[in-house]
């Protein structure tokens, strides 16, 4: 059984030449110390991003409610707020635990153990990335959020939606309720004419989009519009140049009570912050997976056996991997829980 103390003593003798001086500063190897300082600097980068998110959120009168934005779920379930991201968190936590096991097996110089537990860690990382891929695809492809456009808005006053004839409908909302603006399928005019000529084609397309909108849980508005018709003003809704459908509603409180208004886009910074911060974290996970694989292959090939330093390389990538989990704790807190 190799405890850390004896491992440390070995390191002192072995690395004396590189990290010269009688004893190692902080009684830790050069590589591990520098990994700690790299992680410190990386923590500041992430903190900068998250603080920017907080400052912009504080500066905005309304902000998309995360449990409304992130309620979607694969396999057609749409009304499960936060459950999918909780699953993603669990994947990272579990892969963090398997990483600790890999480091422990490394201390025992157990090659098979290191390879097994690192393999499980890689699987956890890949699983997390797949979930994030699905989440992004859903937000971009189906809900039409982009870096500059945020279709998730919030009502500031209570009111009631108008139906397609411009009359008040049964559908009411209160102040603070969230909404998403759906997007109509915009067809180029030439395309539409050509489709008319060939019969079925335009029908098939409308069918496709109808299915898509149904899948995102939108009970409302599955429509195809021609580009030349935009912007389109109807009694119940307004379609802007890009095809986003702004529903009309009548407010029932506040100074503008009784006015007919249209749904507006949510704060545009939300999309940019979401994609940059989760993207930067996802990039860390991706590079972590790549380095885990490299070290996994090295460990399996027996490279670290001859070094006899308790698989220190596995410890270093372990520090990095735990840091990725640590950052996710705060991304999860800031984006999804608060």
């Amino acid at each position: 059984m190799a405890s850390t103390d004896t491992a440390l003593e070995k390191e002192v003798h072995q690395h004396g030449g590189d990290w010269s001086g009688g004893t190692e500063p902080f009684r830790i190897s050069y590589g591990k110390l520098m990994m700690w300082y790299f992680l410190l600097s990386d923590a500041f980068t992430f903190a900068g991003f998250l603080i920017a998110y907080g400052a912009l959120r504080f500066s905005s009168p309304t902000w998309p409610v995360p449990d409304y934005v992130f309620k979607t779920h694969p396999f057609g379930k749409t009304e499960l707020p936060l459950i999918f991201v909780t699953v993603m968190s669990f994947l990272l936590i579990i892969s963090s635990v398997t990483m600790v096991r890999a480091v422990q097996e490394g201390h025992r110089e157990n090659r098979r153990g290191v390879v097994l537990w690192m393999l499980l860690t890689v699987l956890g990382g890949v699983g997390f990335l797949s979930c994030q891929g699905w989440e992004w695809t859903n937000l971009i492809g189906r809900e039409h959020m982009s870096v500059t456009t945020n279709p998730f808005g919030t009502h500031t006053e209570a009111g009631v939606y108008l139906d397609e004839n411009g009359k008040e409908s049964e559908e009411t909302f209160r102040a603070g309720s969230s909404y998403i603006m759906h997007k109509a399928a915009v067809v180029n005019d030439e395309h539409a004419e050509a489709a008319e000529g060939h019969g079925g084609e335009s029908h098939a397309e409308a069918g496709d989009h109808g299915e898509e909108s149904h899948a995102e849980g939108g009970e409302h508005h599955t429509m195809t519009v021609m580009k030349s018709e935009l912007p389109m003003d109807k009694p119940g809704f307004y379609v802007d140049e890009r095809g986003y459908i702004h529903r009309k509603f009548k407010t029932s409180e506040g100074i503008s009570s009784g006015d007919v208004q249209i749904e507006a886009f949510g704060p545009s910074a939300f999309g940019a912050l979401f994609f940059f911060i989760t993207g930067f974290h996802g990039f860390h996970v991706l590079s972590g997976v790549v380095f885990l694989l490299i070290i996994l292959i090295n460990a399996a090939s027996g490279l670290y056996v001859s070094r006899k330093n308790g698989y220190e390389m596995v410890e270093k990538i372990g520090l990095y991997w735990h840091f990725v989990d640590l950052v996710w704790v705060f991304v999860f807190l800031v984006f999804y829980l608060l």
């Binding site: 907080g54 400052a55 422990q104 807190l333």
Partner: protein, 139 residues
């Protein structure tokens, strides 16, 4: 780690898994309660509850961070000066959080002020009244 046997430290790791998992589930439940999905309308009717909920979630997250750094990253078993050289610089972030959140609140107040002033009719004796272009520029 140094004075624990292999079996003991193995057990400790899996205890850590249940701890982190439990704290995460608790966070999600508290968050859903704060948003009114669990526990009915209490969250919407008691206005200060949202601050308690936020504080609870933040505290639990910081506990998770502490656990990951001290147990999983073995900071507990490093030399104390190393731990301090890594952890003390993050105290600067406390300043950054307070300063930038304050700034964000101030942007909101300014924007609100400008909006209110724009909604007021221009004063009769003001110069602006005669010059529509200036009104447009300042509007």
């Amino acid at each position: 780690m140094s004075n624990l046997s292999y079996e003991e430290s193995k057990k400790k790791v899996f205890k850590g898994l249940w701890l982190l998992a439990g704290v995460t589930v608790a966070e999600v439940l508290i968050s859903l309660f704060g948003k009114g999905y669990i526990g009915g309308d209490i969250a919407h009717s008691v206005s200060w509850l949202i601050y308690i909920v936020g504080l609870a979630i933040i505290t639990l997250s910081i506990y998770k961070a502490y656990f990951i750094i001290y147990e999983f990253m073995h900071m507990r078993y490093e030399v104390k000066t190393l731990a301090m050289s890594v952890l003390l610089p993050t105290v600067l972030l406390v300043w950054a959080i307070i300063a930038f959140f304050q700034e964000g609140g101030s942007w909101k107040a300014r924007r609100q002020q400008i909006k209110e002033k724009n909604e007021q009719p221009a004063k009769q004796e003001g110069m602006l009244q005669d010059d529509p272009e200036t009104i447009h520029l300042w509007g």
